[in-house]
Amino acid sequence: MSVASFAAGACFAASAFFFVAGTVGLLRFPDVYTRLHALTKADNLGIGFLVLALAIRSSDPVTIAKLVLIWLAVLVSSATASNLIAAAAYQDGAPWWRNEQ
Amino acid sequence: MSAPLLYALVGAGLVSLGAWGLVVRTHPVRKTVAANLMGSGAFLILVSAARATPAERPDPVPHALVLTGIVVTMATTAVALALAKRRAAASEGHSGEGASDG
Amino acid sequence: MAVLALAVSLIAPLLAAAGSLAFRESWRRSRLALNAAAAVATAAAVGALTVRAAGGTPAGVRAEILPGVVMGLRADLAGALFATMTSVLWVVTAVYAHGYMRNRQSQGRFFGFFALAIFSALGVAFAADMLTLFVFFEVLSLATYPLVTHDGSPEARSAGARYLVYALGGGTALLLGVAGLRAIAPGESFVAGGHLAAAGTAVPALRAVFALLVAGFGVKAALVPLHGWLPRAMVAPAPVSALLHAVAVVKSGVFGIVRVVHFVYGPDLAARIGGTPVLAAVAAVTVLFGAAMAITRDDLKARLAYSTISQLSYIVLGLSLPNAVALAGALGHIVHHGVMKIVLFFWAGALYEELKVKRVSQLDGTARRMPLTTLAAVSAALGLAGIPPLAGFVTKWLMGKGATTAGSAWATLVYAGAGALAVAYAWPLVTRPFRRPDAERPRRDRFEGDPWLVVPVAVAAVLALALAATAGADAMPLDIAGRVAFDVFWRGR
């Protein structure tokens, strides 16, 4: 088990973990905004680790460049998308959670 | 039970689902969704047949057919939805034009 | 040359029809000119064809319309006889119709369909095989429907509907009959004495086809169960009742039966399968029924209609007797009755136009007002009743003699009885006009009717008298009828 494949395995595990976290957040959180929060944060990290793992495994610099490009594109579009959804939800008056102990 | 056969069976399922939706559902948007599903099912059958050919690359003919099919299905959707919207507008009467002379 | 005459005789009425429909409603004169010219041209062409047919080499043309489906025209003697009557009487009726329709609307449509009806009647005459005859027969039904419903009144529409039901029903029976005939004897054209090969075909099939064909033609020939439409169709304008419902349409039905019995089956085969005896019985019933009903009818045109039903069955009875003289008499009667009956319908039309007289009971004193028309009508009525030496008597006598020589005494009895009934229904027509009118008729200063109506009546009456006078001479209808009968009965041996 060379060092590279060990590192790739670790990154895969991390990305899987963040994806699962994001999904749990999606299911558990009470209102739209927090769910959006969970999704964008966790999934972005998940994609990051995934790209890292794939970059480690592949040696060809062109594919690495393509992977990074994909990562950037995902980052930008998910950020804008979540902003738009949040704005639309706020406009439609979706309720947000308050801590009423 | 090779992978293409699985996809083909799913395609068959989608075709039946789509046909059911087209026949039973009445709302135009749902019917359009059903039409698209039926189309995807048919394309799945075609492409899984292509994938199953022993040649080193899949049979390109079904691919071309499916490409044409996808474009035609999109055209169907566009016309169906435009028609549904126009009918909704006409039934409200605000932009219905043309004498309704039978 | 002969085929040219055949073409002219059919194309002229078509042109007249197209022209009349195309002309503007107000062009009455040019429409009359067109129709009259077409009528004369047709009469001339038919004359030439008759001479050629008499010479033994009838003009004909055949074409394979569809693979295995051959249609053709042939102006043989029998066809020429029917065509001569139709075309000659068309000339007279064209003039009469011009006068009669003066103040009615959509005359273009009337003359158009009238010419189309003549075209199809000539087609029936010149058809060379049963399929062509069927095609022209159906076109005849279609062409006469608009004429029956011409003035669009509710009675006209219901009469038209009834006419259609009978015509289409008959047409269906005919279609099946002709299809059956084609299955038995594919592609044969008419031959005097019958072309059906007796051997090899099951008698039930022969009977079925015979029954279908005779029923199909019987609708137009107004045989008893199928006669319902004729009295109701009298609601049509007078020229239509005159030429079509006394001459062209009903005679095409009878002519069809002549073709079936004598040019497809042949007299002995038709007798052997029991066709002609049944036909004779039905005809006999119709003769007596028609005459009896005619006596009871007070409406003048209804009486004439029932008289036509009766006289038509004279012909059907005559042709179903296995005897040449009876057949000759029957064929002759086609022409003789046609000419006489047209005079009476013209007379009825003139009476209505001039004096608004529709009923027999109102006839008193019309002679003084319209002496010439009444005189012509009386001569025709007497002929109709079979008073010698007029045209009606000649042919009825031949049919009676034929019946006795054929050994069916009952047929002679029927003719005698019918003669008596005919005298009964014709007598009031002859005598009442000369009675003194009880109520003072509204004085119309005019002496006679509209000349456009009087002249045709007179001409037709003279024609009837001429027929009677020259019965024996050759080239006259009776002589042609005799030759046809000879061909049918003896050429075949």
């Binding site: - | 789509g18 046909a19 087209l22 026949v23 135009p28 039409a35 039926m38 189309g39 099912g41 048919a42 059958i45 075609l46 047949a49 003919v61 044409t68 099919g69 055209a75 169907t76 169906a80 028609l83 549904a84 126009r86 009918r87 039934s91 219905g96 043309g98 004498a99 309704s100 002379d101 039978g102 | 074409a63 394979e64 319309i65 569809l66 693979p67 295995g68 489906v69 609307q105 959509s106 449509r109 069927f134 095609v135 022209f136 159906e138 076109v139 039904s141 419903t149 003035d151 669009g152 529409r157 038209g160 509907a161 259609l164 289409l168 269906t172 279609l175 099946l176 299809a179 059956g180 084609r182």
Partner: protein, 487 residues
């Protein structure tokens, strides 16, 4: 050109591409000059159809491998006698519809501002030509969709609520039909490895998926041709569309999917499942005749009656199919004659009905008394077309009825003759009811202001269809080049 025959195959391609190009140009030119370009395209389409028919009549069946790629890889266009005749039908009805639309769109008429009618109409015409000529099953699918969209858009272009409803149900029925057909094509390709129509029957022997595939394709086409159980969309669509559109739909479009179904049936005989399939279709046809005629009689509107009569007349085309087995030539001729004369007569009836509806303001029967006098040309066209509906001589449908009765008597299938003859009588009921109401004397004689338009295009159509028997020799010569004989 080496010899005239060499250019004949190209005519097939041109007969489809030229109207398509004309439609595109007419669309690009926009409102002002759309009609002019479209009429030019229509004239070209008629000329090309005549040229194709002439070359088939003189030189027998013509075929063109597009891009000179031989099937099954490439697509082949083939014109045998039957497709050439249907092409001529499309040309004749197309010319009449174009003339009538041009007359109707004089300034002031309501259709003037719907200039999109012209490009849509040319696309429909080119798609119908495409479907008649194609010998490739997938290409037929694309043509079916092309026909479906243009027809739906044309039906909806009237804008009334009824037209939009009808267009929507027509669209979904057409989509369901086309998709079912596509699935069938998929299965057949899966089993036979070929998309070429004439190579289909030999390649399809015995394999289950091919048989099911063919069945699905036929089911799709039955839905597109509105055979009885699947006819629900046709009456509303054809009766609420503008008159020119319903004339084209009832006259030609319905027959395009029928011709493809016949070709598939001939291929199905190869697969041994022919007779059972034909009998069911014929039974459906018989029910269609009775049902269509009954509904036509019951309908209170003229256009609805004519639309239901289309449902009935489509039944005729299917009733003849069982006879295709041993008497292919005669029945092929009967199909051609009936389709031709019904197509023209039905188009004439709709054009005349459009004119009558203009004159009377509505096409309800009880308001039509006396309109016959105001519009003699329309009334005469309706009458002449009625002759064809009834199958009376000398119309083409009489010739078809005659051939069918002959072959059904010869082959012992009596019921077909009975259905065909009975159908004619049923048709008499509704045709003469319409004519009687037109010819009736108007009870109130206030003068209606007759609108200038008159159905000049309808009269020749009806006249030709009512006397098509005379064209028998020409049609049978063309049909000699047909390969309908079941192998």
């Amino acid at each position: 050109m080496a010899e005239p025959g060499a250019f004949a195959p190209q005519l097939l391609g041109l007969a489809i591409v030229v109207p398509l190009a004309a439609g595109a140009v007419s669309f690009a030119l926009g409102r002002a000059r759309a009609m002019a370009a479209a009429l030019l395209g229509a004239a070209a389409a008629v000329a090309l159809a005549a040229a194709v028919a002439w070359s088939v009549a003189t030189g027998g069946a013509v075929a063109l491998d597009i891009g000179s790629w031989v099937p099954p890889l490439g697509i082949r266009l083939a014109a045998d006698g039957l497709s050439a005749l249907f092409l001529v039908l499309a040309a004749i009805v197309g010319a009449a519809v174009s003339v009538d639309a041009a007359l109707a769109s004089r300034p002031g008429a309501d259709v003037a501002d719907r200039w999109l009618f012209w490009p849509l109409w040319l696309f429909l015409w080119s798609a119908v030509n495409g479907l008649f000529l194609t010998a490739d099953v997938f290409n037929a699918y694309v043509c079916l969709e092309l026909i479906g969209f243009s027809a739906v858009a044309l039906v909806a272009s009237k804008g009334s609520k009824a037209a939009l409803d009808a267009a929507l149900s027509y669209l979904f029925a057409s989509v369901l039909g086309a998709m079912t057909y596509l699935v069938g094509v998929g299965l057949v390709y899966l089993a036979s490895g070929t998309l070429a129509l004439d190579a289909l029957d030999s390649a399809v022997h015995g394999s289950a998926s091919a048989r099911i595939g063919l069945g699905l394709m036929l089911a799709g086409l039955v839905l597109k041709t509105a055979l009885f159980p699947a006819h629900f969309w046709l009456p509303t669509a054809h009766s609420s569309a503008p008159p020119q559109v319903s004339a084209a739909l009832s006259g030609v479009v319905v027959k395009s999917s029928y011709l493809l179904a016949v070709r598939l049936l001939v291929a199905a005989t190869g697969a041994g499942s022919g007779p059972g399939l034909r009998l069911t279709l014929a039974a459906l046809g018989a029910v269609a005749i009775v049902w269509g005629s009954a509904m036509a009689l019951a309908s209170q509107r003229l256009k609805l009656m004519i639309a239901y009569s289309t449902v009935a007349q489509v039944g005729y085309l299917f009733v003849m199919l069982p006879l295709l087995e041993e008497r292919a030539a005669t029945v092929g001729l009967a199909i051609a004659l009936h389709a031709l004369s019904h197509g023209m007569a039905k188009a004439a009836m709709f054009l005349a009905a459009g004119d009558i509806a203009d004159a009377a303001g509505t096409d309800r029967f009880d308001a039509l008394a006396g309109v016959g006098r105001e519009r003699p040309v329309a009334a005469l066209s309706l009458g002449l077309a009625g002759v064809t509906m009834l199958g009376l001589p000398p119309s083409g449908s009489f010739a078809a009825k005659w051939l069918v009765v002959q072959s059904s008597l010869a082959s012992g299938q009596w019921w077909i003759a009975a259905v065909v003859v009975g159908g004619g009588l049923l048709a008499a009921l509704y045709v003469f009811r319409a004519l009687a109401s037109l010819l009736a004397k108007p009870d109130r004689s206030e003068a209606r202001t007759p609108k200038p338009r008159t159905a000049w295009a309808a009269l020749p159509l009806a006249a030709v269809s009512a006397t098509l028997l005379l064209a028998g020799p020409a049609i049978s010569r063309l049909m000699a080049a047909t390969s309908l004989a079941g192998r």
